[in-house]
Subunit: 317 residues, 2 copies
């Protein structure tokens, strides 16, 4: 097992709080950067209701500023992708010479943003496949699934082993990804159709998408476009591996069929009037598809619609 590590969770929303909480539960020294929930967590701790077992951190270490935490062994960055421009400022105070960073965010091209200012060797991507929402301040509801797929930005197997070891004692199921880029595209096979159609449809839950034959078909065709773009992107990066489209698409439907009336994170953002992760989740995959000459008609139109839905002031407002 790994010795206890010093960890900073940057962006302690539902996802960051849950996974950081699981690392604390496993004995690591976890510091949470909190904004909205700071007072509540200081007063009552962090309370997690989880399908994998409830737990409470009665007195977690919370900070209002990254400077209070200082350098750590690991940064778990669980910011929204819409905050990517703030990430460097928020993460940098926690980064020392040997700090590694796990980018636990949705979308494409985010690890590269971190690598731009602190090099690629210390950057990992984490892909959480989970149904998880915030509850009252200081409360997290973990509803279903929960595995994280971890990859290293340079696909270095020894670095990946180090990241896997971090989670070894935790209750989180971790899958190592030999190709981070492939894992990112595979995750988009879920996010693009389900986060997208939920919002494009004006606010529908995942059961409506998989339960309507026409919508299910649109979802599948969107996935096929994502697979085609992803495989072209992998080839352009000289990676030998490819996405097995049929296997991934079947798995995504199987997982989603079991989800019930789930509200993807983007739908919650939309409903609550917050900015949605359109750039990293839709526009960046589309830009890559276009640059690579991959025809992606549904993704093009969906991205346009998501951009429009992301405007806070529609004509009816």
């Amino acid at each position: 097992m790994t010795s206890p590590q010093r960890i900073a969770v940057i962006g302690a929303g539902a996802v960051g709080s849950y996974y950081g909480g699981r690392l604390a539960e496993a004995g690591h020294d976890v510091h949470f950067l909190m904004r909205r929930d700071y007072e509540a967590v200081r007063a009552r701790g962090l309370r997690v209701a989880s399908v994998d077992g409830d737990f409470v951190l009665t007195n977690p270490t919370v900070a209002r500023a990254s400077e209070e935490m200082g350098p750590v062994d690991w940064v778990l960055c669980a910011l929204k992708a819409t905050s990517i421009d703030e990430a460097e400022r928020l993460v940098r105070p926690c980064v020392g010479p040997n700090t590694r960073i796990i980018v636990l965010m949705n979308g494409l091209g985010l690890e590269e943003r971190f690598a731009d200012w602190c090099g690629p060797a210390r950057i990992f991507g984490g892909l959480a496949f989970t149904c998880i929402n915030r509850g009252d301040p200081g409360e997290v509801h973990h509803l279903r699934y929960g595995a994280i797929t971890l990859g290293h930005l340079q696909d270095d197997p020894r670095e990946l082993d180090a990241a896997l070891a971090l989670w070894a004692e935790s209750k989180v199921q971790i899958n190592g990804a030999p190709s981070l880029l492939r894992a990112r595209w595979e995750k988009l096979c879920w996010n693009v159709p389900f986060n997208g159609l939920a919002v494009a449809g004006g606010g529908i839950t995942t059961d409506k998408i998989v339960g309507d034959p026409d919508l299910r078909d649109v979802a599948r065709l969107l996935m096929e476009e994502v697979v085609a773009a992803g495989n072209a992107d992998l080839a352009a990066h000289s990676e030998a591996t490819r996405i097995d489209g049929e296997a991934v698409i079947s798995r995504m439907f199987e997982l989603t069929d079991a989800m019930g009336a789930y509200r993807p994170s983007t739908l919650i953002d939309f409903t609550e009037g917050r900015p949605m992760e359109v750039d990293a989740m839709f526009a960046e995959p589309l830009r890559r598809a276009q640059a690579l000459g991959v025809d992606a008609p549904r993704l093009t139109l969906l991205t346009f619609v998501m951009d429009a839905r992301n405007q806070p002031l529609g004509p009816r407002a």
Copy 2:
């Protein structure tokens, strides 16, 4: 020239008022069924500001109910397509044994609805290509273009000649369509991309669509899908004629490039919270494409989005 005809305008919004007004100006006996503007027109007449010459009908014949008008030679039905279920009730009191009906509405399959209850021989389609909006009550602003393409539901050339003669003395430019079905699909080449993207984009004017390279491309690809579906539909109806896609698409862009910041009717409906003509303009073309095995990925997604935008209560409402 044709002798003065007795005409009932059913649905005297901007389009019905303008074209009915031009028929009255040409000497016909025109009766307007009015709801919103009844009092204003009774008090101050019908005032039209038009690029083809302003005019005022100082004392037009207006009615609140079709029964007041009784049978006529011609019905000019300019209802919104969203009111198609009311059309029979509103039009029937004006229909005698020799009455002909011009369906001056947007979308596909509407003439067939009239034919269902009074036979196809008397049914014509009118396609107005014009930029026209309502102003204050009793006022119409005719901004640009204005030609009507007329076709007969059974493509009977003698019947078509009778309809053309009706407009001979008017200032309206009339084009005869040897194939009404082809004309309907050609009109959709404008309505689908421009009415659609204006609303899907959250409320953008046509200049934004033609002026953005990506959006212009989406518009073109939508038109290509409409052309493909239209040609399959023409073939399925054993019509010898086909849409010349490149010619129609070029013309649509040329016309739209000159429009400036035009707000398509559907965008105005959307902005004002009224039901949009989604079924006749999007869903019916899509149903035909699907039934004919024509791949229409952008139309599929756009129709889904338009359906969602047509729901009065989104999650932000």
